[in-house]
């Protein structure tokens, strides 16, 4: 199975029967996830004396927590987003500690993911087009699951090419092939 499918995030978020009641229950659970995460992060910002507004949302079956504010927040992102990933991991664990359920919540800080998303989509499209033209398979640099998912999605929009991930984290890379 290609990783595109595994990482697409479409799994088991909306109940198969699509009944409104179940959807509402799922949403309520996600709102609760956001609340717990918001408390955990707000207290962290307080202790560090960082300025930041926390925004909670539910989108495509997951809780989204966004923090925006002062320049200090860049320290919580890190040079290549590594601090953001670490903090997201800890926040998921804090949610799981209270709910007893694994959390898939997404944390964004200072719009980092949003801007990475644009860059990586562009990279995916450009790579797809050049592979289509030359027929040479292309390996991209190692990326996090979040980054690979965006690249896979962008490649999928171009006809005649196909992408997979290979290698073990943290060296897992997207490879783009031409479909012959």
């Amino acid at each position: 199975m290609s990783e595109t499918v595994q990482e697409s995030g479409q799994d088991a978020q909306v109940p198969a029967d699509g009944s409104d009641e179940s959807v509402t229950e799922t949403d309520a659970a996600l709102v609760k996830e956001g609340d717990i995460a918001g408390d955990y992060l707000e207290k962290l910002l307080d202790l560090l004396d960082y300025d930041g507004d926390i925004d909670l949302d539910v989108e495509a079956g997951r809780a989204i927590v966004s923090i925006d504010g002062g320049d200090d927040l860049e320290k919580l992102v890190g040079r290549s987003g590594e601090v953001l990933e670490a903090l997201q991991e800890l926040t998921r664990l804090a949610v799981q500690q209270e709910t007893g359920e694994r959390s898939r919540l997404m944390l964004d800080i200072a719009g980092w993911r949003a801007s990475r998303r644009d860059e990586l989509s562009k990279l995916g499209r450009t790579t797809a087009r050049s592979v289509l033209e030359t027929g040479e398979e292309t390996r991209l640099r190692p990326m996090s699951p979040f980054e690979r998912k965006i690249v896979h999605d962008a490649v999928a929009e171009v006809d005649g090419v196909h992408s997979e991930s290979e290698g073990e984290p943290p060296n897992r890379k997207v490879v783009v092939y031409r479909v012959e």
Binding site: Y40, L44, L76, A86, L87, L93
Partner: protein, 79 residues
């Protein structure tokens, strides 16, 4: 500076079964500062995580906030 100690204590408290037993001690050595994390022995697995993943995440956040010179050690002892 107790900011980092408090922040680390908060991060750990949120992910364990016994938050009241979490203690972080700041120790200065010649090679820099070490933050020692003490938890209930039953919570050690949670703080370390599978293949040390959680401990690594704690270190990454503390380095991001306080700079690379700071060590985070999860203390593995039965008190």
């Amino acid at each position: 500076m107790t900011v980092l100690t408090d922040a680390l204590e908060h991060l750990v408290r949120g992910i364990v079964d016994n938050p009241d037993e979490v203690r972080v001690q700041s120790i200065s050595t010649r090679r820099g500062r070490t933050l020692e994390v003490h938890v209930n022995p039953d919570d050690l697995g949670k703080v370390i995580g599978r293949s040390g993943r959680t401990a690594t995440a704690l270190r990454t956040v503390i380095s991001g906030v306080g700079g690379r010179g700071i060590r985070v050690d999860v203390i593995d002892t039965d008190r």
